[in-house]
Symmetry: C2
Subunit: 378 residues, 2 copies
């Protein structure tokens, strides 16, 4: 059974030897990127590193998603990233794939498509009994490994401890020639912005949780369960899809800037990327590709006085989201055509780059941004 077939079939605990009511996402109090120490707190806590841990510094080049370190060996850079978090879906196998894809994504965001080594980080929840552990952990590892195989890399180290929560993560490292790394600070006015996966992941994962939890949210918002289930499969597919082809094509089509969209949401990462440009630029988002039906859920939540996961503000968290890229319009069209055929999934031009004036923001979503409802392609 391949990745897509497995997602479409869904995870059945019983046929995997687990009890009917076994739910992986119960093994954590926080899901996916929701576990991160808030950005402002983190920056405060990391003051100590002010000279070491730098973004946009000459010494480390521009390490936006990964750190990039000049080595003692001429022309070579160490490109490295780590990520760990907690389960946000119930199939341990797909969760393993998502974890691996999410770790690799920060290399891919910098155009580095060859990962030389991965480490797997794992904390096994102490609430798992031995039987559960011996089912869940190998499934997770298999998923992680299959994703690494697909990425042409291997896992050759790691650490495994016990912990109250199931913690999943990894380290991806590439020793790359400087030419393998995309310069991320070269956006120019007239560039367009590409997004390679739709947003709405947090809405999909959470609304699917409401079904499982039977917490009344489905009824309260009058939601259609089959549509949520379909969106959940869609987000599982895109979270477990590697951004590797997207990374390779950055070189072919001369990307001027790129990052991946994860915990800070589309606008958060657009801001991060705009901020590091050599010339002051504004990134303007004119279109919002959204996983089908997730916009309706957000609308209904907002109608009831909620924030709708801040989906339209662009700060709804994505896990293993797509790349956000600036390149010329002509190349963008070719990039999208080629990527879509390779990945069998759409990508979009969602905005443009303009010169920043004193008054303009560094990144914004137009108030009348067009919403594109993206149906599942699986």
């Amino acid at each position: 059974m391949n990745r897509i077939e497995r997602i479409l079939e869904g995870f059945d605990p019983v046929s995997n030897g687990l009890d009917e009511d076994f739910v992986l996402t119960k093994l954590t109090g926080m899901k996916g990127c929701g576990c991160k120490v808030p950005r402002n707190v983190l920056l405060q806590l990391l003051q100590t590193f002010k000279t070491d841990l730098v973004i946009n510094n000459d010494e480390v080049d521009i390490g936006l998603d990964s750190c990039v370190i000049p080595l003692r060996h001429p022309g070579l850079r160490l490109v490295q990233t780590t990520d760990f978090f907690y389960p946000l879906i119930d199939d341990p196998y797909i969760m393993g794939r998502v974890t691996c894809a999410n770790v690799l994504s920060d290399l891919y965001a910098m155009g580095v498509s060859e990962c030389d080594n991965m480490l797997m980080l794992l904390a096994v929840a102490i609430d798992l009994n031995e039987k559960q552990r011996d089912i869940v952990v190998p499934l997770f590892i298999q998923g992680f490994k299959d994703a690494a195989d697909e990425a042409g890399t291997k896992i050759r180290g790691g650490q495994t401890v016990r912990c109250p929560w199931l913690l999943l993560g990894g380290v991806a490292t590439s020793v790359a020639h400087e030419s393998e790394i995309i310069k991320v600070d070269q956006a120019v006015p007239g560039d367009v912005l590409i997004l390679t996966k739709p947003i709405g992941g947090q809405v999909a994962v959470n609304s699917y949780e409401w079904i499982k939890k039977k917490n009344g949210k489905i009824e309260e918002l009058n939601l259609e369960i089959p549509k949520i289930e379909k969106a959940f499969k869609q987000v599982c597919e895109q979270m477990s899809r590697l951004n590797r082809n997207a990374a390779k094509l950055l070189h072919k089509y001369d990307a001027h800037s790129s990052t991946d969209v994860t915990g800070f949401g589309l606008l958060g990462h657009a801001e991060n990327l705009a901020r590091v440009q050599k010339q002051p630029m504004e990134f303007i988002i004119e279109k919002l590709p959204i996983i089908e039906y997730m916009d309706e859920i957000a609308d209904k939540m907002i109608a009831k006085g909620g924030e709708g996961f801040k989906l339209y503000q662009g700060t709804s968290a994505e896990t293993s989201g797509g790349l956000l890229i600036a390149m010329s319009e002509e190349n963008a069209k070719k990039y999208i055509a080629e990527l879509s055929s390779l990945d069998n999934a759409p990508a979009w031009i969602i905005g443009k780059v303009t010169a920043k004036t004193t008054d303009s923001s560094i990144a914004r979503i137009l108030p009348d941004a067009v919403r594109i409802s993206v149906p599942s392609h699986i």
Copy 2:
């Protein structure tokens, strides 16, 4: 205040802005290396990697403590290791130093003294209130950073999440020329075994916990608190001491084999090292350098029917322990003399290497092994 002064002074929560009863080690249910998934369980769970995650395989060279990966670039190897665990002492600053020293130790064990990059891994305990967090985390980071500075490396990435337990760790990576890496499988009969830090760390840390917990153990075993407190400072010093000089001298004195002594204890790591030798060898341990008074505690526990932390069996866990090295006797004496003067701390010849016969073990501690009581040098 330098590292030694700080250890000698001890950690006072109040003068650090914390409540009198604040105890860092309460932020975890498991201490130090005790959190590891047991080795046999782990090997079972890692079956999936049988072709990838290999010890003693041509492709990854002999990656005993770190993985060693041939790169796409001629002559270069990626040497990488990760470790994370939970606090086992109460001073967050010293704990940061211990964490960093422990991560680096697996590079040093392979003779790699130049670390090109570190990542810091941190899960902030959800039980910490904001005030505690803003005191404890910066102290931890400062300790980690100071140790990295001392190691001539920098921390340029990492991940920070929230978790029920305070999880501390890191990743150390070196892109090294193959000549920088010690061959670990070259032990020959006649070699002696060197140990660069005494054992007994687990006894010291745990007996110190008994004092804090007031759990009656001190009275039951009729122990002398000042001696335990002294041993605790001694173990804090040695856990926070880098094995970097020990690593550099491996090259100068032509070490035939080396590893670091951590979670599996002296005998466990001696077995791991003996097992990977090119020619079948037996590692025989004739002397046990033990932190002063820790042998008496073990004796008293054994007299009461306990196992004494399996100190004499050689499986008592060490955190950030010393290097265990095989080299010629002549070189060993010089190695110890030079290392002792650099680190201002003793090291010992503790045994010998002989050819393995069909009947012999791969590693053992002689039943009449001489115990060396090692007083604190700070």
